[in-house]
Every structure is written in structure tokens, then in C-alpha cells.
Symmetry: C2
Subunit: 244 residues, 2 copies
């Protein structure tokens, strides 16, 4: 797939922000003044790039201040990208279960997450192919945040990613635990301990399952979206240790 | 109790190391060149100051490099200090249980830990009285490491301690969970995820019980004594955030 830049903007801290399309997929690339730079892929929840932009640009600026380029792409079925019926059904089932106060079944979690993983991972790999061909992007590559199941599959199938920071805050299909055992790169896993919408035990089980010799779990208070500033700083130090 | 210095030594990085006695209790104080300095109390397992010295002096140097004084005292029943019969019996029961491959009962844990907590905590408070009267020690005070139940009781009863770094690697009596709920200061808790001699679930339950609004759990690989270097650095950043 061909990467085409569609806009370009210099942010006030010297970071160059460029929107691009990769085939039909929108994306954003942030590069620091120093080039070539190692790259961090910024994962995010399936809420659309537009809605996620404030948090993404903050993470990208932080990465750029540490000397990293950062890039992200729209997830399948998010933003302006076409929905698919099965995902819409799964989302409706999820809403019904939550509103009825019922536990979210494995069937709903599988229908919600597995097709998203299947679709998203090859797109992140295509983005990586295109981004690594740019002269301003060097290696190595890290992956940070987003839907944890996408991250798990991506780092299992993609040897160019050498370190990953995961956010253990989304549903995890049973099948992903087997894939987690195949992860061997250094991991930095964030968990919001008091995230009421999250299955804490599943997050701990997933952390336990990772095959990596270096894996760190950082659990903090503050609710799903309340990751403390110092936790972001520690995650940045993780990438500096492994990508520099 | 009166604090009397018994030896004095300048370490090569400008840190002044002084041994002292507090009544019958031996202790060590390390001070950086900058004074008055905030103080970190260095907890340690009940193996005797002599045996623990290499790790304690490394932690003290790290603290001094960040501008902190550090101090520690011998635990009751450790080093040259008199044993008491009940603790010796509890230790023998523990050895028997472990050698027989049996689970360590609540009775053994209580007998092993609760009297140690009862005896040690007032001694740490007496040390704090004496240390805070020295002109080279300012506030605030942090507590770091050691037998976690001693740390929990100490920070509940001692309002001069404003932040604590705990190591969740020792047996926790059931009674301590109730005390943990009374802890409200910022906490930084280290857990060695693959520490086979430790009850991981009890450590997670204890972390959950802490009443603090700011509490962070850092779980790493490397076994009981294999806390990675970067975990020490992050703990140091925690104290810099809260004691400066």
C-alpha cells in the first residue's frame, strides 16, 4: 500500500505533524527534528482518530521530546472507515449486557475483539512497511497502548517491533492468552487498578501468561482514563531503555 | 533513647556514613553533603545489619545521590541483638513446613511476624525521634523496603512518614490487611512476580487493601532478590516526587 502525505503542520515544539493515507486508511506521523529517529507506533481504542487526537498528540510530543518519531493509523470500523455488521451486532450485545448488569460473555468478547485484531494487525504491518521506508524513520520500533489484543498479536507476528508498552484496559478473548505466551520481547504493562469496567483478574492472568523474560506490570489508581502523569514518564523511560 | 555515634567514615562519593547506637540498638546513618536533607528510613529483612550491609549501603548511596539522608537500625532478634524463644520456635516451625512441602499456616505466619512488628515499630519511632533532632536531618521522612508488615504498621502509627516504598515479598499476617486499610499516604509497592517463596495473591490482596488514593504496584521478573536496576530507579523517582 502506498503512503501519501495529505497535510503538514509544524507544532510549536519543533515536531512535524503530517497526516497521511495508506491506501484507504488515514494516519498521522509525528517526527522530531533529529532524524532518522526510532519509531513508536501509537495504539488507541476504537473511538476514531479525531476523538483520540488530543491524547495521541500529547503522547507523540512526549515521544518526540525523547527523540522518537510516533505514528498511528485509524482502526478498521472507526472514524470515517466503513463499519461491518458483525462488529455492530457485537457492540449492541455488549451494550445490552452492560445495561442489564449482566456479565459480558466470552461470545460477546470474541465477536467484539477477534475480527478487529484480524483486520487491524495486517494494516499496522503495512503501515510499518511504508513508514520504515521513509528516510526520517530509522529503527528500532516500539508499540504502545491501544487495544491490548491487537498489540499482542502484532508483536507476535511482527519481528521488527522490539519492545511494547501495553494498556491492560480492554476485554481479552480467551484465545489471546495462548498468543500471549508467544510474546518474548520486553513488555511494560499499565493497569488501572480501580478501572471498574475492566476485568482486573483477566489483566493479571494475561500479564502472567506473557512469555517475556523482561515484563513489568505498573498498576495505578485513577480509573480507566486516569493514568497518572508519572506512569507516562516511566513508560517513556522504558522505551528509551529499549529503543536507543 | 539516646543516639550515640560510634564510628564515622567518608565514602568515596562524599557520603558520610556513621554507625550509632540508640540505647542497645545498633544503626547506621548516611548523610549527603547537602544538609539539612529529607530522610529515608531503610527497612530490611531480619538477617542482621552486617549481612545486609552491601545492599543497604548501595540503597543509601542512591538516596544520597538524590539528596536524601538514609538511616537504618538493627531489627529485634537480628544481628547481635538477643533472640526470643517464641520467634525461634516460629522460625523452626516455618523451616519444618517448608522442608515438608506443606503450606505455611496462618499460625506460623502470625507467630513469626506479629511479635516482630510489635517490637520493631516503637524502635523505628524512637530512631525517628533521635534522627530528626540532628541538625543535618530535615523533613519530610519516607520509609522504604524491608518486612512489609513492619512498614504498614509504622506508617499507620507514625504521621511523620509521608510516603512509603514497600517490598511485597514477605509473609503477611491476616491481621495486617485491616491495618493496610488505614494507610493513606502515597505508596510505591514492588512485587517480584516470579518469587516462588512468596504468596503472590496475598501481595495483590494487600495492595488492594491499602487505603491510599495514590498507590502504585510495580511487578517485575527476576525472582525474590532480582529486583531490576530500573525498578530501583523508579522507586527513587517516587521519593523525589514526594519528599522534595
Amino acid at each position: 500500500m502506498v503512503l501519501q502525505f495529505t497535510s503538514e503542520q509544524h507544532l510549536d515544539d519543533g515536531v512535524l505533524e503530517r497526516e497521511f493515507t495508506l491506501g484507504e486508511i488515514p494516519g498521522i506521523l509525528w517526527t522530531p527534528a533529529s532524524a532518522p529517529a526510532p519509531l513508536i507506533l501509537l495504539g488507541h481504542p476504537p473511538l476514531g482518530l479525531l476523538k483520540m487526537y488530543p491524547r495521541l498528540v500529547a503522547r507523540a510530543r512526549h515521544a518526540a521530546a525523547d527523540g522518537f518519531a510516533a505514528a498511528t493509523i485509524e482502526l478498521p470500523g472507526s472514524g470515517e472507515r466503513p463499519r461491518w455488521a458483525a462488529a455492530e451486532h457485537a457492540r449492541a450485545d455488549l451494550r445490552r449486557a452492560i445495561e442489564a448488569g449482566e456479565p459480558v460473555s466470552d461470545e460477546i468478547i470474541d465477536a467484539l475483539i477477534l475480527p478487529l485484531v484480524d483486520k487491524a494487525v495486517p494494516e499496522w504491518q503495512a503501515a510499518l512497511d511504508a513508514l520504515l521506508s521513509l528516510p526520517e524513520i530509522g529503527g528500532p520500533v516500539g508499540y504502545s497502548g491501544g487495544v491490548i489484543s491487537i498489540g499482542v498479536r502484532l508483536v507476535v507476528v511482527e519481528p521488527r517491533i522490539v519492545a511494547a508498552g501495553f494498556f491492560a484496559g480492554s476485554f481479552v478473548p480467551r484465545a489471546m492468552f495462548e498468543e500471549a505466551r508467544q510474546v518474548t520481547i520486553p513488555l511494560h504493562v499499565l493497569l488501572q487498578w480501580d478501572d471498574e469496567g475492566n476485568d482486573r483478574q483477566a489483566a493479571l492472568d494475561l500479564f502472567d501468561a506473557f512469555g517475556s523474560k523482561e515484563k513489568t506490570l505498573h498498576a495505578n489508581m485513577g480509573g480507566h482514563t486516569g493514568v497518572p502523569q508519572f506512569a507516562g514518564d516511566t513508560a517513556a523511560q522504558f522505551f528509551t531503555r529499549h529503543l536507543k
